[in-house]
């Protein structure tokens, strides 16, 4: 990993810098200073990382291995006891978790491909030099990123809600059957649409900016060779975008596995979303409504592990082309 050719990396080795003529004392002090410096720069982040990431993870694992048992017959007190993997067994045997995971897979298969497909298409079209309204479209499509998921869901919820919905209103006046957004199957589309609406623009910008980094001489050469815009897009631009596509896919997967805000906000408007509709909603219900933090912790650990394995597996599969380790 280390690049010995980069002298000015501030290595702690005394004498590595061109400061040979200074007094020995100050040189030593500077050497100590620059050895200490990276520690000090990283200290605040490391402390917060330990306090708000590592310790909570450890605590969640600890909780997941404990449970409350009533000791001492009828008048016994509830005490916290070690239960080993019981919570995991119970969590994995709970059909509600599996139902929510199936729903999550359906939802994810809707959101991730459609959102990234649209983002890629828009990014490529923004990059067509003869397309009009590019600035306006870029800002308009990126705008929903600034709208919180909860509020986006409220806006779409009203657009779906019979009695207020302009979409139903328009359909009725065109003598079309009014679409039912709150159906057993269409509810998936209704929630997915909110997430797609909120996420397309951000991913489009990520893909578009990495397209902009490609030197345009590359395209000129292709045009001279008789390539059309379509061929340039499929044969040059998309292959060049692969690392950015991998990165946006990983982030979209992580976000999708944590879906919570949208279905929670849509719940008051329809009775089709049970309190365990998605895994995270089930975790929330178990912890705060059912009051069983131990089982909620076990499910959290399972979900976090699944997310980590899925995203790491995906990165490994594509040879970790997403994160620039050393630039």
């Amino acid at each position: 990993m280390d690049d010995p050719g980069r002298a000015a990396g501030g290595s702690g080795r005394p004498g590595s810098g061109p400061t040979g003529s200074g007094p020995a004392r100050s040189r030593r002090r500077r050497a100590v200073g620059s050895r200490l410096a990276p520690v000090l720069f990283l200290l605040p982040a490391a402390v917060l990382f330990v306090l708000f990431l590592l310790i909570p993870i450890g605590y969640a694992i600890l909780l997941s291995l404990h449970g409350q048992r009533v000791r001492g017959g009828l008048l016994g007190r509830r005490t916290e006891v070690w239960v080993g993997l019981d919570n995991y067994r119970a969590a994995l045997a709970d059909p509600e978790l599996w139902h929510s995971l199936v729903r999550l897979v359906i939802y994810g298969l809707l959101v991730v491909p459609i959102m990234l497909g649209l983002a890629l298409a828009f990014a490529l079209m923004l990059d067509v030099p003869t397309a009009r309204l590019r600035r306006f479209s870029r800002i308009a499509i990126f705008l929903p990123y600034a709208v919180p998921g909860v509020i986006a869901t409220m806006l779409w919820g009203f657009l779906y809600l019979p009695g207020v919905s302009p979409i139903r209103y328009a359909a009725e006046h065109l003598n079309l059957p009014p679409p039912n957004f709150f159906g057993v199957h269409s509810i998936f589309g209704a929630v997915a649409n909110v997430a797609i609406w909120g996420g397309v623009g951000f991913n489009m910008i990520v893909l578009y900016t990495s397209l902009r980094a490609v030197p345009s001489e590359l395209y000129d050469a292709a045009r001279v060779d008789g390539c059309g815009e379509w061929q340039i897009a499929t044969r040059i631009k998309i292959p060049l975008l692969v690392p950015a596509i991998v990165m946006t896919t990983v982030f979209s997967l992580i976000a999708t596995l944590q879906v919570f805000n949208e279905p929670m906000t849509l719940r008051p408007l329809t009775n089709l979303i049970p309190s365990t509709w998605m895994p995270l909603m089930k975790i929330y219900r178990d912890a705060f409504i059912a009051g069983d933090v131990y089982s909620a912790a076990a499910t959290s650990v399972v979900l976090a592990l699944a997310t980590l394995l899925l995203s790491l597996g995906f990165l490994r599969l594509l040879q970790r082309r997403a994160f620039a380790e050393e630039r």
């Binding site: 009009r132 408007l269 929330y284």
Partner: protein, 286 residues
Amino acid sequence: MTAPARRPAARPALLPTAALLAGAIYCLLPVLWVLIAATKTRSELFSTFSYAPSFSGGLTENVRGLFDYSDGRFVRWARNSVLYAGVGAALSTMVSAAAGYGLAKYRFRGRTLAFNILLAGVLLPQITLAIPQYLLLSKVGMAGTYWSVLLPSIIYPYGIYLCRIYAAAAVPDDMIEAGRIDGAGEGRIFRSIAVPVMVPGLVTVFLLQFIAIWNNFLLPFIMLSDEDKYPLTVGLFTMINQGVQKPALYTLVITGALLSILPLIALFLFLQRYWRMDLLSGAVKR
């Protein structure tokens, strides 16, 4: 779509233009709807076509109703959102800048390990942490306080990652070395040489984190029980939950939604030229 390269004034590409326009309309539709719906009185909301604005004074009535709701709770929620997002993003940017610079510009033992732990933090579903964070903070009596929302928002692994990329690309090693020769300490070099060069990257990290905290729902939803400490997202959520029993609240919720997205959209439009979005795709040019 074979546009000739040498003629800049070629005829417009119809298909891409139409597709982009369709995307723009899809994205603006709900925002436009809430803008119009907020002008309607309670009875108009359910009786007139949604995209027909009303000029019968509905907007002022709705805004007044919203500001009067529960003794001006809405204004308090807005203030809290500004506090959580503003202070949280500022602290987060400072911590990320120092850590990113440290990772980019120093060689030390454990550097690769630190970077890999950081990446694992980027991939970790932050939200599953909220429950153990809540339980731990309630043990030390901090759950339900402003701190319980602020402190967990400061650590932002992706921000550190972005700062590291930006520092590596934008801060020349020669400048650091020149500073050392002039006898400047490492902290001074960071403050007066690195930070000024890193400003565009730092603005990007600040905005990303500002929007992430402003949009956050689960963390404050779990941490807070006092309605006066809610941010806008949680506050409006409780309003729409009551709206089931009291549809009269719908007009207030709609107006509240509009008023809470307008400042963010304004900020976003104003600052979008300062963004370095190429950071996100790792396409920073040296």
